[in-house]
Symmetry: C2
Subunit: 196 residues, 2 copies
């Protein structure tokens, strides 16, 4: 984004994730989405990876660490989309790329993306999570323009909440990906203010 005036920096700490850790995160993401965080046990995670609980505990010291790592992996996907948007030459293009990217993420992940906003503990965690707030601010800036205030944040919350909420709503459970994608794109058009 040429007119950003701010260097796009990735502050989400993508600490060097080993292959073993990545397997745990991947399995956890699926299980969290299917059963909820609280109802997913370390035994279930270990079974899904194909190792014992002790092996999982060798990669992460507590279950909470797994939850956080999984949530941050989802956040990293989102940040990738924001990166791509900010790399565009105009704000109009940037916004288009961002919206398409968010919709794609939501549709592809379907329920995993919901972890962000569904589990109370995760919500609580992210509410106080500086990297999350930073990514959301960057996202907000691409959508709404340079001046971020109270109202812009709420609008951004509405857009992202609506998208995440729709993909996991019982009423759209039977919808195929393409239809869902196009409905969500229509939705964003109605929710976003016109470009100026």
């Amino acid at each position: 984004m040429s007119d950003a005036g701010v260097v796009a920096e990735r502050i989400v700490p993508r600490r060097n994730t080993s292959a073993a850790q990545a397997r745990v995160i991947g399995a956890s993401l699926e299980l969290f989405a299917r059963h909820g965080v609280g109802r997913t046990s370390l035994q279930m995670i270990a079974d899904a990876v194909g190792v014992t609980k002790a092996a999982v505990y060798h990669q992460f010291r507590t279950k909470d660490e797994i939850v956080i790592a999984a949530a941050e992996a989802e956040l990293a996907s989102l940040e990738g989309v924001v990166d791509a948007a900010e790399a565009e030459s105009s704000r109009t293009k940037a916004r288009g790329v961002l919206v398409l990217g968010i919709v794609d993420l939501a549709v592809e992940h379907r329920r995993p993306v919901s972890i962000f906003l569904s589990d109370p503990d995760v919500v609580q965690y992210f509410a106080e999570h500086e990297p999350f707030r930073h990514v959301m601010d960057r996202l907000c800036r691409v959508l709404m323009g340079q001046t971020i205030g109270h109202e812009e944040r709420v609008s951004t919350a509405i857009l992202t909440a609506a998208i995440s909420g729709v993909v996991m709503h019982p009423l759209v459970a039977g919808l195929d990906d393409d239809t869902l994608r196009s409905e969500l794109q229509q939705l964003t058009r109605r929710l976003l203010p016109p470009m100026n």
Copy 2:
């Protein structure tokens, strides 16, 4: 609704709920919202009510029964709003009452309302729950008109998902009820098609 052509019937089975059962449901609703369904134990519920686990098990045979009863209590609140809307004399008035009612429910309950769409088990349960689908269809009809199709259902999903999603979004955690309410009302105006 005079032009409904369909008798409004309450099919949500509000089985005779004893006072003791109501206390359990109320406490559970709060705890589920705060900690998630899976992380809420029967001990926590019993403590919140001020009795022992055994007393709770006298009211409900399993934890799942409590989850279902709590979810149906939330559904009953929603159905109350739909009832009120359908009692209006015109569709314009009905839609206004319905939207105001849904927003009020969401704001007052804040996180409890999210149980519907947050816990994967509850989502799964409602997706196959006939009374839920019936209430959603009635809601959909008030919002979108008599002809309910694929597209109308998705629009309804979007509206309710957006509202539920927003109230529990980290970005609006610090917002007072009145501001949140007015933002949500603006939201519904943007999402609903104009009355014809």
